[in-house]
């Protein structure tokens, strides 16, 4: 299995606000009987109508959110919905604890950064090794650099693929 190149992730910014919780916006809890594929098409519709379709049709993108993205219900499905939408990565001022963990465990690129100056549709690059975000207008935003162990988990595509290669939990240096 190939390891993702985690030097950087590049894409178009799709903006979301503060306190986007998993219960109402990207979980199946209130959508009984709906599959992940169906939920992916309408995720976030109540806060940003058409956003999910735009990301899917555009072949992916980077979600840019404010405070506390992914709070409330801890379900892992919220991350799987984002992957189904072809979201390449997500940056926010802060994340709900379990959402952050689920993103890492499922190999979704994630980083904490002050996102307030990022404009909708701008091209941006998340530089994981440097712990910064580059915007197409030349500006550079500092971010909370991820520890190498967490980067490794994301690079392998998540915890289960990582353990398939490293059942002893050894993170190579």
């Amino acid at each position: 299995m190939g390891i993702m190149n985690m030097q950087s992730v590049q894409g178009i910014a799709f903006l979301l606000g503060d306190h986007i919780n998993t219960d109402l916006h990207c979980s199946g809890k209130y959508l009984p009987g709906k599959s992940i594929e169906q939920i992916a098409e309408i995720a976030f519709d109540s806060v940003s109508p058409g956003l999910a379709k735009a990301i899917i049709n555009g072949g992916g993108g980077i979600l840019v959110a404010g405070e506390n993205f992914g709070i409330n219900s801890s379900r892992e499905q919220a991350v799987q919905v984002l992957k189904m939408m072809k979201v390449k990565g997500i940056i926010a001022k802060s994340f709900g604890r379990q959402f952050f963990r689920n993103a890492i465990n499922n190999g979704l690129a994630i980083l904490e950064c002050d996102t307030s100056s990022i404009k909708e549709g701008i091209d941006l690059t998340i530089n994981f090794q440097g712990g910064v975000v580059h915007l197409a207008d030349g500006s550079v935003l500092p971010a909370n650099k991820l520890p190498r162990e967490i980067l490794a988990l994301i690079e392998y595509g998540g915890l289960i693929p990582f353990l398939a290669k490293h059942p002893d939990w050894k993170f190579s240096t």
Partner: protein, 429 residues
């Protein structure tokens, strides 16, 4: 620089001398728990990983609580799958009505002071009441734990909160945690570990300490942990737990914040509808009518909660038009309440008892559905709109004493105002 309780437990389980907040460590887990909401996915993932000999199964409990009793065929089939998996792999199984995961784990003697315990439920922070580091995880995490006995953790920053009491009669841990939510906001302590200290903690019995730690989930905390004292070690021994290995913070431990709370003057608190952090004193919302009163859940479904309700409702009747449901947090509590005569007192007052489980907290089992426009006062930990399957009902939160007092009057009521409420009936022992 010294270590906090959380840092020390994580360091010990990672085989390290010390760790610092922000470090990522791989720890040996002492015990794991899977509820019925995550069991199916977990079993599937373990199958995918393909580990044949699941050593850790012996240190895992599967608990049927969210779907207790199962509301539909899908839930019933998940339970069938859990029984078969437990039988094959040797995990401990708690079946329908045995109780809520966070109650049956300590009651079953599965954890002790100094342990590292994970569970597929946010309120796994409850185990901190026993000086264990307990935290909530998801399906991928639990399948990794069951396959390897280990899990990765980011070491959380610790905040120390000193509860300077003692608490007045009629004021409980629930009121303290609601006050904390009002002060810090929901998710206000995201990622952090809370160490609660102070004479109000020393005063609380184990039931109340479990409430204190349990509710930290709504603060976003990764863990909420107490020092072990004689009450802790006596309780653990009485429940057949392994020898406690109490962990204390170093005198020079580093906290990101130290908060002093005056709990001596704290009065009964309630969370208003829809928002767990919209907190007011119970006496400030006098006149707020209620139709449903619920006592139960992993937050406040313990014997002491049922005792509080019985102390208020003994020899009395619920207010006209009020329905009251009690779900003990475990079968053991159900039996204890029965033997103490509490079920008779509450049933004669007009309350109904339902199976132990999560039914009065989250609208999965259809234990109850409030009608449109109904106001519910509940001992649960969450009151999000629609939590009990009806977005057109309101859910307010309070202690068992506040819920019982409100059921008696038909209005949200400060339990201290009820004449004849015998607080001596509740044990501070």
């Amino acid at each position: 620089m010294g270590l906090t309780i959380s840092e020390k437990i994580l360091a010990q389980h990672a085989g390290l001398e010390k760790v610092a907040a922000g470090d990522v460590v791989v720890c040996d887990v002492d015990y794991a728990m899977v509820t019925d909401t995550r069991a199916s996915n977990t079993i599937k993932l373990i199958d995918k990983i393909g580990v044949k000999d699941l050593h850790f199964a012996k240190k895992t409990s599967l608990v049927m609580d969210h779907y207790s009793p199962p509301p539909n065929l899908e839930a019933a089939e998940i339970h069938t799958q859990m029984r078969s998996f437990a039988n094959k792999m040797g995990t401990t199984l708690y079946d329908i009505g045995d109780g809520i995961c966070h109650q049956v784990l300590p009651e079953g003697g599965h954890l002790t002071a100094g342990n590292l315990v994970v569970g597929t439920d946010t309120h796994s922070v409850s185990y901190g009441a026993f000086n264990a580091f307990g935290t909530g995880i998801e399906g991928t995490d639990i399948s990794a734990v069951m396959s390897t006995g280990k899990l990765w953790f980011r070491v959380p920053e610790t905040i120390k909160v000193s509860l300077n009491g003692p608490l007045q009669a009629g004021v409980w841990a629930k009121d303290v945690t609601l006050h904390m939510l009002g002060r810090f906001g929901a998710e206000g302590l995201n990622y952090k570990a809370i160490e609660y200290v102070g004479d109000a903690v020393a005063q609380m019995n184990i039931d109340d300490r479990m409430t204190l730690c349990n509710h930290a989930a709504e603060l976003g905390a990764k863990a909420a942990i107490l020092e072990a004292d004689n009450k802790t070690t006596d309780w653990l021994k009485a429940h057949g737990a392994a020898t406690p290995k109490p962990v204390f913070a170093d005198a020079d431990a580093v906290y990101t914040d130290i908060i002093q709370l005056d709990t001596k003057n704290l009065t009964p608190q309630v969370a208003r509808k829809h928002q767990v952090d919209d907190i007011v004193a119970a006496h400030e919302v006098r006149g707020q009518k209620i139709q449903f009163a619920l006592i139960g859940t992993c937050t406040n479904g313990r014997l002491d909660d049922i005792r509080q309700a019985a102390a208020i409702l003994k020899g009395k009747k619920l207010a006209s038009g009020v329905r009251m449901i009690v779900t003990p947090a475990s079968r053991k509590i159900y039996i204890d309440a029965l033997q103490e005569g509490l079920i008779e007192i509450l049933t004669m007052a007009g309350a109904s008892f339902e199976a132990a489980g999560c039914g009065t907290c989250v609208g999965i089992t259809n234990h109850l559905v409030p009608g449109n426009g109904d106001t519910v006062i509940s001992t649960a930990n969450r009151n999000f709109k629609g939590r009990l399957s009806n977005p057109d009902a309101e859910i307010w939160l309070g202690s068992a004493a506040t819920v019982a007092a409100s059921a008696l009057t038909g209005f949200i009521t400060d339990p201290r105002t009820i004449e004849g409420g015998d607080w001596r009936a509740t044990s501070w022992a």
